[in-house]
Amino acid sequence: MSPIPSPEPLHLVPADTRPLLTATVVVLGLASMTVASHLHTRWSGLRRLPMLALHTGVCALALLGGGALLGTGVLRPVGGAWVPGLGSLAAGLLAGLLLGPLVAYAATRADRSLTRWWGSRAGHAVRDDRSVTLRSGRARPAGVAVSASTTRRTGLIEARNNFAPTSADLRVRLSLLLTVAVAEELVYRGVLTGLALRAGSTAAVVAALLGVQLVFAVSHVFFGWGQVLSKLPLAGLCAGAVLLTGTVLPAVLGHALFNLWVWRYHRARPSTAGRVRTGAPMWGAAR
């Protein structure tokens, strides 16, 4: 018996379309944030459309292709569960509901510890350790500081691969951050994990699973290596929860709660941009 249970093979798409669709879904899913950053630096940044909204759109595209390939396998990528007794849908969902908050708690603690360690190693404070009351005080930068705070290298048609996020890119509505969490989990832990489990031999499956989690972390390189490092526990915990329960629910729940924590953190940081500057009205500012 194979140590890794193999899900059902793909039969929903014609055979001559399947390889190209699979390749498209894989590269778009793996590089969804990079596609968004390219579009952002060339086009949407000038129109004040948040990069995360584009990221969600690209994830939705990959999800569409993944849905055509896997069907409901997007929601149940493992085709069962690695833990005996959780193979049924009801048991998997129940376990997912219980496991999701635990994933979020552990990922949050790990993220906080890693970013603090990275900051102390680099000789500067990555996180502001003051209380929420102090951090969200009324004092705001004024004059030149305000005008200079949202400058960004955008608008050049040849500008590529030089996306540098500002705090305004993360200072978005909670609903968008929660949508990003759901979209990322459905793509990375639903579609890409489901495809990785069909990679063939055990070694190929393990390499593909690890590769997906690694690329998920590296896709945060625009925010710095500290963020890449701190996203590894989130990726590992979410992937582990999906493999244990068989459903993507604990990963979605855990990532959504994690992003809720991120949203609270950024909402509490002193704003360096005025209310008007922080995004299009349809997305708005976090506060």
């Binding site: 001559d16 590269v27 590089a31 596609v35 000789g123 500067h124 590529r160 390189v221």
Partner: protein, 322 residues
């Protein structure tokens, strides 16, 4: 013909045509651009040379594809395989965008790694030099640095950030030869390890990526009408797709996937590095070539339809250079 001869023939094509042949072609195109005034009068000689080089490469590439089809016995039907499938062509567009993004993500990660290592390397010699400098110079430098820090930094930064910045400014105030630091150098010395400084360094990396043969496409897009520029670029990259996937993988199919895919990917990636001015500049086409070589190779091996892959290659390239 045995598998070894087929692999050797393809390798010889890459070396003879893509290296020696293009060297001669480019030399001739540059001489033609310098000796004649073909083209609009407002073109400079360098722009004229870039356009001529791209045109010569495209035209010769078509001849090479025709010659390879004749030698290998692969029918011309391969050239249009998949053309009647709009769904696959649309997927090719998305695949090209995704491949470019994946390649650029890997390049960005490599650049950031290189910058992080470079920043650490820049700070170490400065500290060693500071230690070797004379005591008087050091005192003068510290004094100048304190003045600069007091004037420029104090009050501008708060809390832990201030402690870190001033500390690093003090250590880095001595220049590479231990000379006293001029006023204001405390802030400049900080930028060696400052993440904000990476914008300039990143730009210099991206600037290097626009040299070599990529310059031909950039210049053509700037000076030619859009249809002509896209046509020249399309002919060039479509020919590459036909050579390295259509011809190579079809001709080596009997040798099995390992030999065929390895030969196709290695030759394709090797060809990408030709005519780039530095290894930093070559990194972009090489990484993109690895991503595209693996993905296109696997897709073509499973479904031998070349036109959707040509579309993906063209979209990749157009999205990369504009």
């Amino acid at each position: 013909m045995s598998t070894a001869w087929r692999v050797a023939t393809l390798a010889a094509v890459v070396v003879v045509y893509y290296w020696f042949g293009k060297t001669l072609l480019f030399r001739g195109a540059r001489r033609l651009a310098a000796a004649t005034r073909i083209g609009p009068s407002h073109w400079g000689t360098a722009q004229r040379a870039d356009v001529f080089e791209l045109a010569a490469a495209g035209a010769s590439h078509v001849l090479v594809v025709a010659a390879l089809l004749a030698v290998t016995g692969i029918g011309p039907g391969m050239l249009v395989s998949g053309l009647a499938r709009p769904d696959l062509l649309a997927l090719g567009v998305l695949l090209g965008v995704g491949e470019l993004a994946l390649g650029s993500l890997l390049c960005r990660a490599l650049i950031e790694l290189s910058l992080a290592r470079g920043a650490r390397a820049r700070t170490r010699p400065a500290r060693r030099t500071a230690g070797a400098a004379g005591a008087g110079e050091r005192r003068a430098a510290d004094s100048a640095n304190r003045r600069a820090a007091g004037a420029g930094v104090r009050g501008a930064l708060l809390g832990a950030r201030t402690r870190g910045v001033v500390g690093r400014g003090d250590r880095g105030a001595l220049g590479p030869v231990g000379a006293p630091a001029p006023p204001g150098s405390a802030r400049r010395s900080r930028t060696a390890a400052d993440p904000a400084d990476q914008g300039q360094s990143l730009r210099s990396w991206l600037g290097r990526s626009r040299g070599g043969w990529i310059r031909h496409h950039l210049t053509s897009l700037k000076v030619l009408p859009l249809w002509a520029a896209l046509g020249l670029t399309g002919v060039q990259v479509a020919s590459e797709e036909l050579v390295f996937r259509g011809v190579a993988l079809t001709w080596l199919r009997e040798a099995g996937p390992l030999v065929a895919l390895t030969t196709s990917i290695v030759l394709f990636v090797l060809m990408q590095a030709f005519f780039m001015s530095s290894w930093q500049g070559a990194m972009f086409p090489v990484v993109g070539g690895i991503v595209m070589g693996v993905v296109h190779g696997l897709v073509f091996w499973t479904t031998p339809l070349v036109v959707p892959l040509v579309v993906a290659h063209v979209v990749f390239f157009v999205f990369a250079v504009i």
